[in-house]
């Protein structure tokens, strides 16, 4: 079961990543940092509340093969609140709200998501299906449907203990519909994490986003993710 599940994840990730190169004429890219803080706390019985802040800051931009230029630019900050309910011992679902500030405009996003975790010996796998709807006076409404698959693996032993490093890889496909136009984005994340305690983790690594599998002028963005996660 373990090797075949790994093969499925690898196939899904490689397929998504390989689609990123199809028909891409201009290879524009940007890089930057993506720091975030997240806090999950129990509310009552099966319910938990997740609060999260994330900022996006561009550092460099350019075209592959044509050089890179410094282009520091604060882009946006997101603040989200997401109440979720436990389903069974490994499922979690809920609906929430995100407020985005970007270029002086506010964006309001409604989020619905369901997450399922499973253990395959030392490997922790995680599936997330979510939908969101974003509204703003600056742009037409955007509707997205997302699926993310991820695996978490301890670097030492079979279980992630306190004061140990671990690795996490996720791949996500995002379908978007805005103003009648359909788009398909892929996001690949590979991070290293350190678990300070059962309630406190820090992760850092790369978040690669390919803005459109369907467009020849899609952009590549490489974000350096720094995540601070607290679960009470």
């Amino acid at each position: 079961m373990h090797p075949s599940f790994l093969k499925k994840i690898l196939l899904f990730t490689l397929t998504s990543l390989s689609l990123c190169g199809i028909g891409n004429a201009q290879k524009d890219f940007t890089t930057g940092i993506l720091p975030s803080i997240g806090l999950t706390t129990p509310i009552k019985d099966e319910w938990r509340l997740t609060l999260r802040m994330e900022s996006r800051n561009q550092l460099f931009s350019g075209q592959f093969g044509s050089g890179i230029s410094s282009d520091f630019n604060y882009i946006l900050t997101d603040f989200s609140i997401l109440p979720t309910r436990k389903f069974g011992s490994t499922g979690s679902g809920g609906a929430g709200y995100l407020l985005r500030s970007r270029n002086g405009n506010y964006y309001h996003r409604l989020i619905q998501q369901y997450t399922l975790a499973s253990n395959i010996y030392s490997l922790k796998a995680n599936h997330r299906i979510s939908a969101d709807q974003t509204f703003s006076q600056a742009e037409p409404a955007e509707y997205r449907l997302r699926y993310r698959i991820g695996v978490e693996l301890p670097f030492s032993g079979l279980v992630i203990d306190n004061r140990e490093f671990y690795g996490k890889i996720t791949n996500e496909l995002l379908q978007k519909l805005q103003n009648g136009a359909y788009n398909l984005e892929n996001r690949f994340v590979a991070v290293t994490g350190f678990q300070f305690s059962e309630s406190h983790r820090v992760e850092y690594g790369i978040d690669y986003r390919f803005s459109s599998i369907l467009s020849p002028n899609a952009k590549h963005t490489f974000w350096w993710q720094i995540n601070w996660q607290i679960s009470l």
């Binding site: 520091f72 630019n73 604060y74 900050t77 300070f196 305690s197 601070w228």
Partner: protein, 201 residues
């Protein structure tokens, strides 16, 4: 070129700083409650007691053996994991390298039917609803070399059964590790680590 910050950007920067201070305060408050020590990690064969290595050499295992150490507050055990004939074997030794037990993954249909019915009866008494996630047969007898060589499934009537169950005992679903005797009675029941802590991230 740095764009001029708007009032909104300044507000979000203030929120960032406040959230960091709040998080640090929460973590500092939570850290005082952490007292349980348990850790496991991979080790090399040369770090394992010779008695355990010698004992393991008596088995017909033909694949790589991975060694782990399980550290607790006042003791530690050595554990060998190896795949043999499609099954995962876990052999546990104490600090001196003396055998504690051997566990092997099995499927429910491989268990003796009368033991299976007794176990399901017991689970029905404990849980409103349950689902069996994993079963391991546990052996503690000295003649394990012979049992593994001849096929461990022939000796399941002599085994205890360690079962991982997802069940609802009236306070919400959770995962439990329950040890049943060879007669199907409950020897130990332990709730496993709770709901995945960082599942929402």
């Amino acid at each position: 070129m740095v764009k001029e910050d708007s009032k909104t950007n300044s507000l979000f920067k203030i929120l960032w700083v406040l959230s960091i201070i709040f998080s640090v305060t929460l973590i500092a408050g939570k850290a005082g409650g952490q007292t349980k020590y348990e850790r496991e990690y991979r080790i090399n064969e040369q770090d394992v007691p010779g008695t355990a290595i010698e004992y393991l050499n008596g088995f017909p295992f033909n694949r790589r053996i991975k060694w782990y150490i399980n550290q607790y507050a006042f003791s530690e055990t050595f554990e060998a994991k190896v795949r043999y004939q499609g099954r995962l074997y876990s052999i546990d030794f104490n600090q001196e390298g003396i055998l504690n037990d051997l566990e092997v993954d099995i499927r429910q249909k491989e268990m003796p039917k009368e033991i299976t019915s007794k176990i399901h009866h017991q689970l029905g008494l404990i849980f409103e609803r349950y689902r069996i996630l994993r079963i391991q047969a546990q052996f503690c007898t000295p003649d394990l070399h012979m049992k593994v060589s001849e096929g461990i499934l022939k000796f399941l009537r002599e085994a205890n059964f360690e079962i991982i169950v997802e069940g609802n005992a009236g306070e919400g679903a959770a995962q439990y590790e329950i040890l049943f005797s060879e007669e199907g009675s409950v020897l130990r029941k332990e709730e496993l680590s709770n709901f995945p802590a960082f599942i929402e991230f």
